[in-house]
């Protein structure tokens, strides 16, 4: 077993990117993700890669575009307002089928908002923040260990499907320190040569990477090709963690930092015999619909908890075709839902914690 080290989420993510073979990083400073560029500015040079503090977020995402099409594993990171600026570039990455990892350590919005933790960029991340019919894979870590492990996964998925992958964290996950082990190695997949990159065409047919397709039929066919890939991803890459799926009457649904608080609620209420569990989506796109469909039959209702005014709740309702009541509790502006507030909400839904534990 690798030695445990105490690290903040941002640094763990950056180190994992290096281990995954990321050799190009460009970014522009913004709290609460500054530990990523700070760490990269030192570590990337040791690893023999390129670290670049760009003049803007737009420049950073376009530098990632450029290095990705030469075959490098490339990453950029920012926080909410900076991620908005990158949206055009992400749409172009999707259009050119270029792998890249984009990290969003979310902060309070809209606008410049504040630097406190938030989850209010969910829609932007999973519904396509840029223009056009595209998706990015969206990964939601919930611990410093996952900030490392899922970063490695993100690079693999980006290469495997040749598309942008977003790691969607929040201020707490970025700043919090927890023990982390770097036991993962780059997968066999990441070692495969890329046969589509632009690396000089001497001795072979030139390749073209572009997003301008003027012919309508060609562009429609290209879109259909993308959609086919998205269906494959929906089929193969749904990930989530379920606790007490067998006998729960109420399922909490939460991701990231919020899922940690929700998990505490579940542990507390399970100790006094309450039939409650939690579904924690790890991929936000593709949304883990299959798990919801399966559990929807036995669960009486869902309570979605978010650091937003209600965004993921829409995907929960869609996943179960509104077959069961889906309730919501959220805090916003940098506030984090606390355990007592969630328990109070559960009470309001069904007198949950007041009920005698011996009643079925």
């Amino acid at each position: 077993m690798a030695k445990k080290v105490l690290m903040c989420g941002n640094e763990a993510l950056a180190e994992a990117a290096i281990i995954a073979g990321c050799r190009f990083y460009a970014g522009y400073p913004i709290t609460p993700q500054n530990e990523i560029p700070a760490y990269m500015s030192k570590r990337m040079l040791e690893a023999g890669g390129v670290f670049l503090q760009s003049e803007s977020e737009l420049a950073a995402i376009n530098m990632v575009f450029g290095s990705s099409l030469t075959g490098a594993r490339a990453m950029t990171s920012s926080s909410s307002p900076g991620i908005s600026l990158k949206q055009e570039g992400i749409s172009y990455l999707a259009a050119c089928e270029l792998p890249a990892v984009i990290v969003n350590i979310m902060r309070g919005g809209p606008g410049l908002g504040n630097i406190a933790p938030s989850q209010s960029d969910y829609f932007q991340a999973v519904k396509g923040g840029g223009h056009g019919d595209y998706h990015q894979i969206v990964i939601a870590p919930a611990s410093v260990q996952e900030m490392a492990d899922l970063t490695m996964l993100s690079f693999d998925l980006a290469d495997k499907y040749r598309m942008p992958v977003m790691i969607l964290g929040d201020g707490i996950l970025g700043q919090m320190m927890e023990p982390v082990e770097f036991s993962l190695q780059p997968s066999a997949f990441s070692l495969q040569p890329k046969d589509w990159i632009l690396d000089g065409c001497k001795g072979r047919k030139p390749r073209v990477i572009k997003s301008l397709i003027l012919n309508e039929t060609e562009l429609e066919n290209f879109n259909l090709k993308l959609q086919k890939r998205y269906r494959e991803i929906k089929d193969k890459e749904q990930r989530c963690e379920v606790l007490y799926g067998e006998d729960s009457e109420i399922m909490l649904v939460a991701y990231g930092t919020t899922s940690r608080v929700a998990r505490s609620v579940v542990e507390k209420l399970r100790k006094i015999g309450k039939k409650i569990g939690i579904i924690r989506p790890i991929t936000l796109w593709p949304f883990p619909e299959r798990t919801f469909k399966k559990l929807e039959k036995s669960v009486k209702s869902f309570l979605v908890v978010e650091m937003s005014c209600g965004q993921m709740i829409e995907d929960v309702k869609l996943a179960i075709d509104c077959a069961k009541p889906v309730h919501f509790y959220g805090r916003t502006g940098g506030k984090i839902p606390d355990e007592d507030e969630i328990i109070k909400e559960l009470d309001a839904i069904s007198g949950f914690s007041d009920r005698r534990s011996d009643r079925g």
Binding site: K4, L6, T31, P32, I115, A116, G171, I172, Q175, M176, M177, E178, P179, T257, R260, V261, R263, S264, V266, E267, I336, D338, E339, D340
Partner: protein, 179 residues
Amino acid sequence: MREEIVFAGFGGQGIMFMGKAIAYAAMNEGKHVTWIPSYGAEVRGGTAYAMVIISDEAIASPLIKEPTICVAMNGPSLRKYEIKVKAKGLLIINKSIADSEAKRKDIEILNIPITELAQEAGDHRIGNMVALGALLGRKKIISLESLISGLEDIVSSAYHNLLPVNERAIRKGFEYGSR
């Protein structure tokens, strides 16, 4: 064992570092730990806090509402956190600096002349180490040795000449807290 600790004081008193030092040592003893800083627009002289949970079991929520232990390194943090400490919890107060006294009767209160003890150890700036020592003197969360040996790893090697004075400060605090 599960302790939820809030370290609070002025920016510049080494509040973040106190939390990191104890969390790191506890990790090395095989415990589960989380550390969360206040990461607002902090400046030297502003308020700062670090939340640390140390537990034998996996930690779900890393957030602390009612600390079982609070170390208040100045007056403002005493006033802010005294009311939040869990009943029967421990409140350690830097009485060298705090300009008021704690009123709670349902918690354990340890008033400690941190600046003076740090001065005796050799440097008035290392009150944070005195406080950590006092905390371990009162609550045996981890061993004193883990804390002291851990410093070597988390203090930049450029400052390793300061390790002995830090150790002295920790031992002074420990002695005071054990009384």
